[in-house]
């Protein structure tokens, strides 16, 4: 019998600390599968951000740097400028990328910083126990929006891919999800493209993965997937928001 599915080599033999049904694990695996397929684990340096995925430095077998909250794009910039031929990626959540690290994110993108960004959008702060995120939906109940996110006082959720797609330095801005086998396959393709863009020196690639947080959403893993489909995807439509390779012109 042939193995049709097993743990990728770029993923360490360490159990994830994530809650049951948390999609971080799926996305970690996809990143590792892509590193395996491209054969670049040995050249890769990952940057872990602050949030639930902070321990990702334990999970990937490549070299890893742990950055301060929101600063992963700046740390990745320093790494990439020192190691232009290596593969540098960040793995960031919504609070990290779209709130405290929005300046670093926008400027890394506009500089066309040749890095790959994996962005987990689950509309909540997981690690600190479920506070409102910059991507929490209008009306969404969180620990710090107990009456539901009131857009009159808390403003509107940020659509990151749409925003970054307006910047000339962005090579790829694609939103995917991992709620089904078909979507997981699509997500992997997008992640692979993000890494290939870097290898081909195309600039900043961001793959936004609409994800779940069953624990802080107060739902079972199955219910969380349904909530994602019913509430997240209408506000955050899946799709390619920018792709320089599709536009025919390389930057």
């Amino acid at each position: 019998m042939a193995v049709v599915f097993e743990k990728p080599k770029a993923l360490a033999d360490v159990p994830f600390h994530y809650c049951p049904g948390c999609t971080h694990g799926i996305v970690h695996r996809l990143v590792a599968e892509v590193l395996d397929e491209l054969g670049v684990e040995g050249q890769t340096v990952g940057v872990a951000s602050v949030g639930c995925s902070v321990f990702s430095y334990n999970y990937f077998n490549c070299d890893m740097v742990q950055a301060a909250h929101g600063r992963a794009p700046a740390v990745a910039t320093g790494l990439k400028r020192a190691l232009p031929d290596n593969v540098i990626f960040t793995y960031q959540g919504d609070g990290d990328l779209a709130a405290i690290g929005m300046a670093e994110t926008v400027h890394a993108a506009t500089r066309g910083e040749n890095i790959t960004v994996i962005f987990i959008n689950n509309a909540i702060y997981g690690m600190t126990g479920g506070q409102m995120a910059p991507t929490s939906l209008p009306g969404q109940v969180t620990q710090t929006s107990p009456y539901g996110r009131d857009v009159k006082t808390a403003g509107y959720p940020i659509r990151v891919c749409e925003l970054l797609s307006t910047l000339s330095g962005t090579a790829l801005a694609q939103r995917v999800t991992v709620d089904s086998v078909a979507h997981v396959r699509e997500a992997k393709k997008a992640i692979k493209k993000g890494f290939e863009n870097q290898i081909n020196k195309r600039g900043y690639s961001i793959i936004e993965v609409v994800s779940t947080c069953p624990t802080n959403w107060g739902l079972s893993p199955k219910e969380a997937m349904n909530w994602l489909r019913d509430n997240m995807l209408p506000y955050y439509p899946l799709g390619v928001y920018k792709d320089v390779t599709a536009e025919g012109g390389e930057q």
Partner: protein, 354 residues
């Protein structure tokens, strides 16, 4: 002997960094250090290096963290308000055991303060540049030549002990010009760092640069190990200059720009028959307590002269420990004390009123 050239402090320091093999500069404009960035932007691209004007001081210091993690010599420079912004990244650099070079060309504070020279970041540099238990190796130049010489020293000590290093300069030294000489270029490349995250190439175990340790015992042990390195730095890396100290009775203690003024005042006091001497701390952390201690017995009084409201004076008092009087004279807000003012203070301590 290399040729002497007339250079501005900020530019001389930048050139020295390039000659030390620093090819990665990340900064953000702020007076009075902007010449460092401007010089780097002109020179580094021609040296095959990277000059990057970051979106903020916060980003710049984290870019330094990233580049340093890769194993290269990197630096950033700023002035007081910008250094406060960098403090987050400096703490992470300290907590990740990374060497890095940080330049503070001090101006008056707090807040936006002013743009004239100051030494009011002494506490920040030596006690608390960021959260947590950690220290930086801090050097205080007093001449443009030292702005040059201390760059290689900061890199060497920082890399040897894996601690961040700071050159604590000020707006006067940054802006003034003096003739300087650059050391002959060093042989060979900068040593490989076994801890660097530069891709394991499937040849070694993976490296992790990290400052997070959830288990308190693990974190405590790590910090204790770091403090053993700090103890070694205290033992081996203290530096101070003694000027006319052999038979002195009134000891002026001053660093950086205020030590230049104090040196003139000490010479004038000597001309008046007052036995004054100058102790000039060169390393601010570790504070040169051995040099102070050596002179406590013969001293009648100490006079700390600073461009702030009295910060280093605390460290002098800690060493003197009540055995002798330690007085303070300072100007702040961007004002440099005059030699005449300092001489007046020396006279008072010598019992010779003006």
């Amino acid at each position: 002997m290399a040729e002497k050239v007339l250079m501005k402090g900020n530019e001389a320091l930048a050139e020295a960094a390039i000659q030390c093999g620093c090819k990665h500069y990340f900064g953000y404009p702020i007076t009075p250090q902007t010449e460092v960035a401007a010089y780097m932007s002109k020179r580094l691209p021609k040296e095959g290096g990277v000059f990057l004007q970051a979106e903020s001081e916060v980003a710049a210091i984290n870019m330094v963290l990233g580049a340093t993690s890769a194993g290269v010599r990197a630096m950033t420079s700023s002035s007081s308000p910008g250094i406060s912004l960098k403090s987050e990244g400096v703490s992470y650099i300290g907590g990740s055991d990374l060497p890095a070079l940080i330049i503070n060309v001090q101006r008056g504070g707090p807040g936006l303060g002013g743009i004239q020279p100051s030494q009011s970041d002494y506490w920040q540099a030596t006690k608390a540049l960021g959260h947590g238990d950690f220290q930086l190796f801090v050097l205080a130049p007093s001449t443009i030549q030292e702005m040059v010489d201390f760059v290689s020293l900061a890199y060497e000590v920082g890399e040897k002990y894996r601690v961040p290093a700071m050159i604590l300069s000020d707006g006067m030294l940054g802006q003034m010009m003096e003739p300087v000489e650059f050391p002959q270029k060093k042989e060979g490349p900068i040593a490989e760092k076994a801890w660097a995250t530069n891709g394991h190439q499937n040849k070694r175990k993976k490296n992790i640069i990290n400052s997070l340790y959830i288990q308190p015992e693990e974190l405590e042990n790590l910090i204790k190990e770091r403090y053993e390195r700090y103890a070694k730095i205290k033992e081996e890396e203290q530096r101070a200059e003694e000027f006319m100290c052999d038979d002195a009775e009134i000891f002026v203690v001053a660093f950086g720009a205020s030590s230049r003024v104090s040196r003139s005042a000490v010479m004038q006091a000597r001309a008046e028959g007052i036995k004054a001497g100058l102790i000039r701390p060169i390393t601010l952390w570790p504070f040169p307590d051995k040099t102070i201690e050596k002179n406590v017995d013969k001293a009648k009084k100490f006079l700390c002269v600073e461009m702030n409201m009295g910060q280093m004076v605390d460290d002098v008092k800690l060493v003197v420990n009540g055995r002798k009087d330690v007085e303070f004279f300072g100007r702040t807000g961007g004002i440099i004390p005059t030699p005449a003012e300092v001489l007046g203070e020396i006279r008072k301590l010598a019992g010779k009123e003006n």
